[in-house]
Homo-oligomer: 183 residues x 2
Amino acid sequence: MAGRAAAKRRIGKTEELNVGWQPGERVLHGLLLEAILRDNPIPVAYRMNYIANFYVGPLVAMMERSFKLTRSEWIVLFCLTRQPRLNAQQISIVTGRPKTSIASAVKLLQKKGLITRKTDIADSRRQVLHLSESGQRTYAAIIKSFVEREKEMLETLDPAERRELVRLFGKIIAAADAWAKPY
Amino acid sequence: MAGRAAAKRRIGKTEELNVGWQPGERVLHGLLLEAILRDNPIPVAYRMNYIANFYVGPLVAMMERSFKLTRSEWIVLFCLTRQPRLNAQQISIVTGRPKTSIASAVKLLQKKGLITRKTDIADSRRQVLHLSESGQRTYAAIIKSFVEREKEMLETLDPAERRELVRLFGKIIAAADAWAKPY
DNA sequence: ACTAATTAGTACGATGTCGCACTATATACC
DNA sequence: GGTATATAGTGCGACATCGTACTAATTAGT
């Protein structure tokens, strides 16, 4: 701690840190984070990105290690579970990810046998995607972690607050056409 | 529309889409999105990622085109505006991004003259970062778009709802130590 | 003091991401 | 029906990202 004390004394005279924060403990709600949240010009967006980042980040890393799946592949898997018979283009548009990323994910998933591709009879440009048995099992194994983590994340909110959060998100999404226009 | 009608008739017999949704209009709150949101096993996380994705995605793309900045560089710029005299490590920890990404962003920003690096006197391993004049101007130019977009995004909420949203985010972040543990 | 453990930062390589250009198919319009 | 336009998907190439391994500096423990 001698170094820290010396540093404090020299503040204002030399180049050094003025944030009284030590790595390793209370990382996530330390003084540093408070400084970044305070008077933030984009309070909602910053907080939301922060949470989203810490929610998905470790989960995606875990997926890459344990299941050898990329984030794009997971997105395709997830969308197909929610709504079978999608094609790549639709997944691209509804998730906001570039179609080339989705296309390469589709190719990888097919090679791994997690999805099947069949040409749409009504429009031979389209490739209709389905989860295979193996794909469903993989999804089931992965989604568990996501659900568990969401549960932990919301533990601090009471049921009414959780409902309110979903409601507010729903409102924002419902109005997305007004604000989510591309540049 | 003849194709659509034919497709509908054939549903159940052949491989094809069963989502009555056309690209190009009502993309973001179409039937497809509703299908994905309904009975979602991770209702909060999905919605949050969705919004965060559509919020930052186009903004980052714009930044890359107009200002030749990567997302990591923007993160560094943003953090330094909020709290000068940070070092790379702290930015890495407080944002959850790997330190190698932050390190390369720092190097690029320095080369472009947007930040300065000085060795910390109290600990010569640390490189204390500062925004340069040019860096501040760049930040000011970019942040405008973010603020404007957040404003548009929240237009559908009334003031009380906005406050509640920030409050709920704050609660989740305050409890982050409990749920944001790495895997 | 001396060694071991921790921390800041770098170098490098693998790979995921994504924009651009292209082909093929389908639709719209006259 | 024939041409123009829009759409689905692919190939390629550039680049950002990020994990691993490393060096240098600091701190802790004895």
